[in-house]
Point group: C2
Chain length 412, copies 2
C-alpha cells in the first residue's frame, strides 16, 4: 500500500455526497432482526462503472443492473442478503425490477438510476412482500451507525463486516474512495460470491472510470481464490459523483495514475479481507510465480498451486510440503522444466533445481514459515521473465464440514 494513502474509516459514506443505511426484512431469518437490506445512494447522479460475474448463469439483479447501467447514470444501489434471486426465472426478474422501482420512488429518481444486487440462497423466489415495504424507510436513516450497518447487511457467511477508505490528492484536491464488501464462500479466480460497492467523490470521465475499474479488478478480486467456484451474483460497482471538485480525470490525463493506484489499493485491501475471512480459513497465502516463459504460463502455474486441494490441505496442517507444490506446477499445463524449478517459502529455499534443497534449509525452518497465518510461496521457473501472483487460503476440515449442509437450499 502506497504510504500516500491515508486509510480512514467511514466506508461508503466517506466520499462527499454519499449515504448508506440498512434494515432487517427477515429474509435471512423471519424470526430474527438480522440486517439484510441495504441502500447506498448519492445526492447527485454518479458516473458509474461495474464488473459483473463471468458465470453464464447470471442472477436476475445482475442482468437488470447491466441493462440499467447502459441506459442511465445511477444514483443508488439496493442490496439484499439471504436470497440471491438466482435461477428464479421470470418471477425473479420481476422482483428485481420491483426493488428498483420502489427504491427510485423513495429517492425521487428514475428507476434506471437504481442498481440492484442480491446474495444468498439460490433457486428460491425472494420474499418480495417483506422487502418492498421496508425500502422507503432506508433514505430516512442517515447516521454514522446506519452507514456502518450497510456493511453488516450485505454479509452472508462472512464473520466480519468489511469496509475501507482511501484518500488521495489529485490536482491539489482531496479525493476519497470508500468501499464495503462481502465475500466468504466460493471466492475464486475471476471473482466469487462477492459484492463490492465503491463510492468516490472524484470527478472522472466514464471511459477512464471503466478502465480503472477493470484494471483494479484484474489486480485484486481476480487474483484471489478460496475454493475455485464462481458465483452467479458477483458484482463490483464504482460510483463517482464529482463532489471533490477536482479537475476531471481523463484517460492518461493528470491524476489518472494516482486514481487508478488508489482504486487498486482499495480493492486489493478488500480482496485480502475476503480471503482472510473465507469460510473456515486459517491462512492467507500469496503464490508468486517468477521466471515464466509467458504471462499465461505464470498464471497457469499460480492458479494450479493456489487451487490444489492437496497443497491447501498441507498448509492447514502446517506441513511445508514442497512435493505437492511441484506436483501442481507439473500438471498446470504450463511449459516448465522440472530440473529448473526452485521453490521458496517466505524466501527460504525448499526446492532447488526440482529436488530437495540439499545444502539446505531445514525442515524445521520451513515448517516455521507455513505455521504462520500469512506467508508467501515463491516459485522460480527459470525459463523467462514473466510473472504472476495470486492470493489463496488453506483448506480445512471445518470448511468441508461447514459446506456439507449449510442450508436446505443452495446459496450464492
Amino acid at each position: 500500500m502506497d504510504s500516500a494513502f491515508v486509510i480512514k474509516t467511514g466506508g461508503v459514506c466517506a466520499a462527499k455526497g454519499f449515504r448508506a443505511s440498512a434494515v432487517s426484512c427477515g429474509i435471512k431469518d423471519p424470526s430474527s432482526s438480522k440486517l439484510d437490506l441495504a441502500l447506498i445512494w448519492s445526492n447527485t447522479p454518479a458516473i458509474t462503472a461495474a464488473v459483473f460475474t463471468q458465470n453464464r448463469v447470471k442472477a436476475a439483479p445482475v442482468q437488470l443492473s447491466a441493462n440499467y447501467l447502459r441506459a442511465d447514470d445511477p444514483q443508488a444501489i439496493i442490496v439484499n442478503s439471504g436470497n440471491a434471486n438466482a435461477c428464479t426465472g421470470p418471477v425473479g426478474m420481476e422482483h428485481a425490477r420491483q426493488m428498483a422501482d420502489v427504491t427510485a420512488k423513495a429517492l425521487g429518481i428514475r428507476r434506471r438510476q437504481v442498481l440492484v444486487a442480491s446474495t444468498g440462497i439460490i433457486g428460491v423466489p425472494l420474499p418480495i412482500e417483506r422487502i418492498l415495504p421496508r425500502i422507503k424507510e432506508l433514505p430516512q436513516l442517515q447516521g454514522k451507525k446506519d452507514c456502518r450497518q450497510a456493511a453488516e447487511a450485505i454479509m452472508t457467511s462472512d464473520t466480519v463486516a468489511k469496509s475501507a477508505v482511501v484518500e488521495v490528492e489529485i490536482g491539489g484536491k482531496k479525493v476519497r474512495l470508500g468501499a464495503i464488501a462481502k465475500g466468504a464462500g466460493m471466492i475464486n479466480p475471476n471473482m466469487a460470491t462477492m459484492l463490492c460497492f465503491i463510492t468516490t467523490d472524484a470527478c472522472i470521465s466514464k471511459t477512464e472510470l471503466q478502465r480503472a475499474t477493470r484494471e483494479a479488478t484484474d489486480l485484486s478480486f481476480n487474483r484471489i481464490t478460496i475454493d475455485g467456484d464462481m458465483s452467479t451474483n458477483d458484482t463490483v460497482v464504482v460510483m463517482a459523483n464529482c463532489r471533490a471538485e477536482n479537475r476531471k480525470i481523463t484517460a492518461r490525463g493528470p491524476g489518472s495514475r494516482q486514481f487508478r493506484d488508489a482504486l487498486t489499493a482499495l480493492m486489493l485491501k478488500m480482496a485480502k479481507k475476503m480471503v482472510a475471512d473465507g469460510e473456515r480459513v486459517t491462512k492467507l497465502v500469496e503464490v508468486r510465480v517468477n521466471g515464466a516463459a509467458s504471462q499465461r504460463d505464470a498464471e497457469l502455474v499460480a492458479r494450479a498451486v493456489a487451487n490444489s486441494s492437496l497443497v491447501k490441505c498441507s498448509w492447514n496442517g502446517n506441513d511445508p510440503n514442497w512435493g505437492r507444490i511441484i506436483h501442481a506446477v507439473g500438471y498446470s499445463g504450463a511449459k516448465i522444466k522440472p530440473e529448473l524449478v526452485d521453490i521458496y517459502l517466505d524466501g527460504l529455499c525448499a526446492t532447488k533445481h526440482g529436488i530437495a534443497n540439499q545444502n539446505g534449509t531445514s525442515f524445521k525452518e520451513l515448517e516455521k514459515v507455513v505455521t504462520k497465518r500469512k506467508f508467501t510461496v515463491g516459485i522460480e521457473l527459470n525459463q523467462g521473465r514473466a510473472e504472476y501472483h495470486i492470493y489463496t487460503s488453506d483448506l480445512s476440515p471445518e470448511y468441508v464440514d461447514f459446506n456439507r449442509r449449510e442450508y436446505a437450499v443452495p446459496q450464492s
Copy 2:
C-alpha cells in the same frame, strides 16, 4: 459390463504364463513387515503398451520405463510402494536402473526387458540397500498367495487391494486379461497417483495393443477424479504374451473390437474401484452430460461439476444442492444457455429450464437419491448432441483431515 465377460479371480496371474509375488523390504516402515515390493513377470517376452503420467514432473522410474519400452519387449515389472523415487535427481535415476538390472539378473533376461514403477513419498532417495537384496527372492515365490500379495504390496493409502479378471472368447480361443491396481489419493482427470498393471495371454500386434490401451485409458482412468491433482508416477502397463494362441489381433481385424471392449471393461472396473476407495470417500457419483453443442463443451461441464469443492461437499452432506451444480455448469467455460439446462438426480428432475422443477420432484425425493452410496447426476444442456461422462466422489472433512499432515514428507 458386457455379460459375455466372465469375471474371475486370479489378478495378474489369471492369464497364461504370468506370475507375480511380493516381499517386505521395510520401505513403508522399517520396523514392520508390510509388503512393499512386487514383481510381475511373463515366461516369455510380451508385446507391451503403456500410458504414463502427463505431469511434466516425471518420477525416475517413469522416465526409465518409457525409455526401456522403446528399446525392447518387456518380460517383467518391478514395483515398490512407500517411496515414489520422484524429485530425487540423478541418484533417483541410478536407483531405478539398479532395480531393473537386479531384476533382469534374477530372471535371466535383458535389463531393458524390465519396467520399473514406484509410489509413495516424494523427494527422498529410495532405501536402495534394503530393496536390491530382496529382489532375487521374488521369482521363487510362485503360489496363489504370492500372486494375491502382489496386489497388496503396491497399496499406499488404499484400504483394499484391487484386482480383477476378464475372460473373452476371440476366434474360438479363450483369452484372459487380469489386473492389479492402486489408487487412493490424488485421483484426477488425466490419471492420478495410480498404478495399473494388466497381463493378458492374447496374441495381438503392438500397434493394436497400443491403440486399445490408449482408448481404454481414455474411457476409464481419464474419466475419474477425486481431488483434481495429478501424480508424477501414474502408470498403466498392458503386457500381452500370446499364450492363448488366438489368431493375432490386428488393427480393425477379427477380434479387435472384442479385445478392446474387454480391456475397457477391465480398466473401468479398476477405475471405479479406485474412486470408491479414494481417501475418505463415501460416495461414487457419475456425472453425465448430454445435449452439448460439442464434445469439448460436454467435457468442460462434466469436469467443472465433478471437481467443484462445493458440489462435492454437498454430496457428503446428503444435500441435493442443484444450485451448486448449475453454478459449476455456468462457470465451466462451455457455451451453455442457463434457461435450457435441466438437471436430474438418478433420473428425477431437480431443475427444469434452469430453475427449480416446479411441477416437481420434492426435496425429500431428491435427498433420498444423494443419500445413496452411488448415484448419477444427469445434466441436459439441450444445445446439441455431444455427451461426456465422468466418475467422481464426495469431499469429506475426513479427506482434508487425512491430508493435512499424513507424512513429514510428500507422497505420490
